[in-house]
């Protein structure tokens, strides 16, 4: 008679790998319905629940490849990336990297970028709530104090580096206008997208290289004065004003 811990280890092995389910099957009551068939009911539910969670996180990837291809890819992905928690919103972080090395998807070079963007969007949608910092919160600071100030990004804020127009593809498919896909030029210089959650949904925009040079140090907690100097010729103060007006930073509690 196995101890409970050992039984659960063997059950997990049998769930992930039908060829390794011999030990657990020997502990299951069998009758007209074989032990393996009984176990497979649980396996099917498990893969179904995880696939469904991935479908909710990566709806545009699924639209691009079709439901059947998506389920197959997720099946291979999950076997190598077991969920660590019942909080399945947090599952699937490495799917973009997986797709980048997934040969059957090689004909869609933008797919890993779309997945990376969807991971950021899903993370932003589920991030903790926090009150937005606005320009009035900074009104009381004198110029020297302002330069030394370090801002806290809103928990939903994400920067995503892309090498294909995945943001355009994401927008088109999220709006349901598949026909527009044909007009996209895939060749593009690498660029950065900044996104965060607003009341009306996820707000997403491209940052130029110089805008990025200002924004990244702010996100890294560098003093404002230092960050604003990094922008070369651009109007860094106007960019900061836009960040604040858009709710990309938060007040401390």
């Amino acid at each position: 008679m196995p101890a409970l811990r050992e039984l659960q280890r063997q059950f997990a092995r049998g769930m992930w790998s039908p060829s390794e389910s011999g030990t657990i099957e020997a502990w299951i009551e069998g009758d007209a319905i074989a032990e393996a068939d009984r176990l497979s009911i649980y396996r099917n539910t498990m893969t179904g629940v995880i696939t469904n969670a991935m479908r909710l996180t990566y709806p545009v990837v699924e639209r691009l490849v079709g439901a059947k291809f998506f389920a197959g890819a997720v099946g291979i992905f999950m076997a190598a990336n077991l969920p660590r928690s019942a909080y399945l919103n947090a599952y699937g972080a490495d799917f973009a990297a997986f797709l980048a090395g997934f040969t059957p998807a090689a004909s869609l070079p933008y797919l890993p970028d779309v997945a990376a963007l969807e991971w950021a969007v899903a993370g932003a949608a589920a991030a903790d709530d926090a009150p937005a910092l606005d320009a009035r919160d900074l009104a009381g600071f004198d110029p020297i104090a302002l330069e030394a100030l370090r801002l806290i990004p809103h928990p939903s804020l994400r920067l995503v580096r892309l090498t294909t127009p995945a943001d355009t593809i994401w927008r088109i498919l999220t709006a349901g206008d598949e026909a527009e896909l044909a007009g996209i030029t895939l060749a593009t210089e690498p660029f950065t997208v900044i996104l965060h959650r607003r009341t009306e949904g996820i707000a997403l925009r491209r940052l130029s290289e110089l805008e990025c040079a200002v924004t990244e140090p702010i996100l890294q907690g560098r003093p404002l004065g230092e960050a604003l100097m990094a922008g070369g010729g651009i109007d860094a103060v106007a960019l900061l004003a836009e960040h604040l007006a858009s709710g990309r930073f938060t007040r401390t509690a």
């Binding site: 409970l4 059950f11 077991l82 909080y87 949608a125 589920a126 991030a127 939903s156």
Partner: protein
């Protein structure tokens, strides 16, 4: 077994009436139409994090009694509970002050892997100790009692020694937790394992049962005359389960009763119709309230 009453004006205890399992796709309809439903139950795991779902649930919570139902605590894990997950559950119970909190007599985590289903336990003295330890830890952390639900199951272990109904009763007796009696699950498991569903019901300690679940299930054909019932929550409650529900109410009295529907979720009206069927049956089992007033 007194229910903890939430602070503030939001409805508190879950009434002995029919509620429905609330899913995201119905949030807006509930907020806009305020349907005549006594209470809602949600899956705790769907509200971890922040954003729109939580904001909407808070709006709904202001007008409706709420029960939080977990699928991820893994009360049967020999490794013990995932402290991070328990903390997420604790934060949500503090935020929403639910009338009831419930989980399952099952396990889903081993060696830090989440197996994404409510898996069956061997019903042994060792497993009973494990479940009781974990239930006690949850109740200490949440500072409230919880309900533990009987699962649907599709397999049994050869070395099980305790009937499921005795196991549940023992967990309740040893930890002080309540029982969430899922009548559909009793029907499904009894049918799959050749148990007597009426005997199962009769063996549960009536005073410990705090809620009833009802749902639809499907009958899967495995060929060669073999079938198995699958608890997929994707269809109306079947007549045989409604009959078993009447039996349950005869044993336990009128109790909060939840209609669950998670697969192919229908329009809200379909769910409120199912809830009204439960309500009509509940009516017959409600003890008339005697109001003693000074004036």
């Amino acid at each position: 077994m007194a229910l903890l009453t939430p602070s503030g004006a939001a409805p508190g205890p879950i009434p002995a009436a029919a509620g429905i399992g609330l899913r995201f796709q119905h949030h807006r309809a509930v907020i806009e139409t305020r349907p005549d439903i006594a209470w809602f139950e949600v899956h705790i795991e769907n509200y971890m994090g922040g954003g729109k779902p939580l904001e909407q649930l808070e709006t709904i919570r202001r007008d409706y009694a709420l029960s939080l139902h977990g699928v991820g605590l893994s009360l049967g894990s020999a490794d013990g509970l995932d402290a991070d997950h328990l903390e997420r559950v604790r934060r949500l119970t503090l935020r929403f002050q639910p009338g009831l909190v419930s989980e399952h007599l099952s396990w889903s985590v081993s060696a830090g892997q989440y197996l994404a289903d409510l898996l069956p336990l061997p019903l042994t003295e060792e497993a009973l100790d494990v479940v009781c330890d974990n239930v006690e830890r949850v109740q200490e952390r949440l500072k409230r009692w919880i309900l533990v639900e009987n699962p649907s199951s599709y397999l049994r272990f050869r070395h099980s020694t305790i009937p499921e109904w005795e196991f549940l009763a023992a967990v309740a007796a040893r930890t002080g937790c309540g029982i969430l009696c899922d009548v559909n699950n009793i029907f499904v498991s009894a049918s799959n394992h050749g148990w007597d569903a009426s005997r199962y019901l009769a063996a549960l300690p009536a005073g410990a049962v705090g809620e009833i679940h009802l749902a639809g299930h499907s009958l899967r054909d495995l060929g060669q005359g073999r079938t198995i019932r699958i608890d997929d929550h994707g269809s109306p409650v079947i007549p045989a389960v409604w009959r078993l529900y009447r039996e349950a109410l005869a044993h336990f009295g009128a109790l909060p009763t939840l209609i669950e529907w998670d697969t192919d979720v229908p329009p809200l009206d379909t769910l409120t119709d199912e809830a009204q069927k439960a309500e009509a049956i509940l009516d017959a089992f409600r003890v008339p309230q005697v109001h003693a007033r000074a004036s």
